[in-house]
């Protein structure tokens, strides 16, 4: 139990400090790297409380796809060199008071919400819910996802297909005059197709077209 608590604090510390570093670091690429560290730490926290499916999905989706996409975007847009100091440029300084105000309000709201939830008298403890501990999360999600919700699962697949078709329709342009390698044409070439023996008449020469 002590080890569990210890690990919890270690992971929480890493998560919070890397979240701060995402906003504080001056190099955008470093920000994204800290974001990845944050995602990984949070997925560790998920695994610690027994939600291993959620943790793994977090790793696959956020770290594997979203954060790497961010990294690509940041590197391609070439915004990495922000040499200016933190919040010191003239444009953004006007937004700081408003930003601080909104942050304070959000913090206040969160305090109220969490406080109200914590001290609500008739709250049901998650420990008292009838959970079957014999089967894993992944197993139980799979059991309803592929039976009761199979139609939704299949339809989500159709939605992804439409998204793929749409992305291709809207962005793909066939470039004209592009020379592509055709293996089939290369392999099926015969000597007779390309080599021709011509008797060259004296003092006349031959025409070479192509």
């Amino acid at each position: 139990m002590l080890a569990h608590t210890l690990f919890f604090y270690i992971f929480s510390f890493i998560a919070i400090s890397s979240a701060i570093m995402v906003t504080a670091s001056k190099n955008t690429v470093h920000s994204v790297l800290f974001l990845i560290l944050d995602f990984i730490t949070i997925s560790c926290l998920f695994i610690m409380i027994g939600a291993e499916f959620l943790g793994m999905i977090m790793l696959i989706v956020y770290v594997g796809a979203v954060a790497v996409l961010f990294l690509f975007v940041v590197m391609m847009l070439n915004v990495a060199q922000q040499k200016k100091e933190w919040f010191s440029s003239n444009d953004s300084s006007k937004h700081i008071p408003v930003g601080v105000l909104i942050s304070i309000i959000i913090f206040f709201e969160l305090t109220v919400v969490i406080g109200g939830w914590r001290y609500k008298p008739d709250i049901v403890s998650s420990m008292s819910l009838p959970l079957n501990t014999d089967i894993t999360n992944t197993h139980s999600i799979g059991k309803i996802l592929y039976t009761d919700y199979i139609h939704l699962f299949q339809l989500s697949g159709m939605i992804l297909l439409v998204a793929m078709i749409g992305a291709i329709v809207l962005t793909f342009r066939e470039r004209s005059g592009l020379k592509r390698q055709s293996y089939f044409a290369q392999i099926s070439r015969e000597r007779s197709d390309s080599v021709e023996l011509i008797d060259v008449p004296s003092k006349k020469g031959v025409d070479i077209d192509d």
Partner: protein, 471 residues
């Protein structure tokens, strides 16, 4: 899984989408083939819907998916609109050089989404269907991607639609939080009258849905998106999503929340009145025919909502009749728009119609009939559509709604008749091209005949729709 045969239409359409996609990718220049195969797919789906008896009423997938009369009827309407969009648009797309395989595949995808919406009996299923439908529509709106207006239309629709989806999801989460279930039938068992959180949930979901059918005050996207999208996509926008969203409206209001009608009735009345009045007044100053039809569709949605807010089954039936007739009128109108082509350039301003009656008397006559019908002049079909709505509204003694509806009909008649005046009494312009495709001619003549001769035998449609029983 013994009831799987009831979702054969959905399964068939999904498999066809994947097959056509693979075929289109591997076979070069196959846009025409894919377009024709998509039409065949839709016809096959139609057959599969007719395949199971219409009076079935069953829930599958733990009650989250419902097959009943209304779902079959609305699915047939959706498929018909899909077929007509595909047969009228191929020439248009070829001229704009955007005739790609993905066009018909995306239309099929969005029809699949509409099917799911129409049959949904659960908040999650409904939302997934909505997203599938909307995602395809975003791409379709900006399909002519080199045109700045089309890109603008797609982006605008995407951003505003994402916002409305957010509202809708917030409403869903509130309803789930207060009832503990997402299933419509179970919600109706649980609710009681004094749960204010639930009312908030209803309001948020209604706001999201009103956005999808472009009812005032959630209409601001409609004129720009209608104008910017390619005309064939505008036609699809004007009919298909409205059918699906109206069905969800009906199911959502009449299955879980019919007992708390006093909580939502006034909201629908407001949406309806605002849409009718705004649709009539804002259309007056328009110069572009597509913007005009956008405002006209806002107004028409107001009438459809007026039928819904009565809270009776007659009201629902009148709304469904209204949307069916509205569909036919829109096909006619857009077929005329597709015919206004001169030297491979499409014209879509009202001024381009001037003197149409001298050069093209038949088109002018059809457009005259369609516009009169849209304005609700007897004995055309549009009159009957409005008649059913007002009858249902008056039976509930909601006189103010009927009076405002009638007044806005009169205002709306002005801008329809102005188009007729320009067609018949203004100086003529150059002739338009006359190389219409067969599908276009067929659509225009069919819709005109349906509108013109509806009064001879109106009882058939009424009889079919009167079998709808939602509660």
């Amino acid at each position: 899984m013994d009831k799987l045969n009831f979702i054969y239409p959905e399964i068939f359409i999904s498999l066809s989408i994947m097959f056509l996609l693979i075929l289109g990718v591997f076979k070069k220049n196959s846009s025409n083939l894919i377009n024709n195969l998509s039409i065949l797919t839709l016809i096959g789906t139609l057959v599969l819907i007719f395949n199971h008896p219409f009076n079935t009423n069953l829930n599958i997938f733990n009650g989250s998916y419902k097959i009943d009369f209304i779902s079959s009827y609305m699915k047939i309407l959706t498929i018909l609109s899909g077929i007509f969009v595909l047969i009228t648009s191929s020439k248009f797309l070829k001229i704009f050089k955007i005739f790609q395989i993905e066009y018909s595949i995306l239309i099929l995808c969005s029809i699949l989404g509409m099917f799911v919406m129409i049959s949904s009996n659960d908040l999650i299923v409904f939302y997934i269907g909505l997203e599938l439908q909307s995602l395809s529509l975003y791409v379709l709106a900006s399909f002519n991607r080199d045109n700045i207006k089309s890109s603008e239309a797609g982006l605008k629709y995407f951003v505003l639609s994402a916002l409305s989806s957010g509202l809708l999801l917030y409403g869903c989460s509130l309803i789930y939080g207060f009832t503990g279930t997402t299933n419509f039938n179970e919600i109706s068992n649980i609710i009681n009258n004094n749960q204010y959180g639930l009312t908030f949930g209803i309001v948020f979901i209604l706001a999201g849905l009103a956005f999808k059918i472009s009812a005032v005050p959630f209409h601001m996207w409609a004129p720009d998106v209608y104008e910017g999208s390619p005309t064939s996509v505008t036609l699809f926008f004007a009919v298909a999503p409205k059918i699906a969203a109206l069905t969800v409206f009906i199911r959502f209001l009449y299955v879980p929340f019919i007992n708390v009608i006093e909580q939502w009735q006034l909201i629908i009345v407001f949406l309806s009145i605002a849409s009718m009045v705004f649709g009539a007044i804002a259309a007056i100053g328009q110069k572009n025919l597509k913007r005009l039809i956008a405002y006209s569709s806002i107004g028409h949605m107001g009438y459809a909502l007026a039928g819904l807010c009565t809270g009776t089954i007659e009201g629902v039936q009148s709304s469904i009749l209204y949307i069916s007739i509205y569909l036919v009128m829109n096909f006619g109108f857009f077929s005329c728009l597709f015919m206004l082509k001169r030297n491979n350039k499409y014209h879509e301003d009202i001024d381009d119609l001037s003197g149409l009656s001298k050069n093209h008397p038949l088109i002018a006559l059809s457009l005259l009939i369609i516009l009169f019908s849209l304005a609700g002049i007897p004995p055309l079909a549009g009159f009957f559509a409005k008649f059913y709505i007002f009858k249902a509204v008056l039976e509930q003694s909601m006189y103010y709604l009927a009076i405002i509806g009638l007044l806005s009909t009169v205002i709306a008649a002005f801008y329809y008749l102005r188009v007729v005046k320009i067609m018949y009494f203004d100086s003529e312009k150059e002739k338009f091209d006359t190389d219409y495709t067969l599908g276009l001619k067929f659509t225009l003549s069919l819709s005109t005949i349906l509108i013109l001769f509806y009064f001879i035998y109106p009882s058939k449609l009424v009889e079919i729709v009167s079998k709808i029983n939602i509660i």
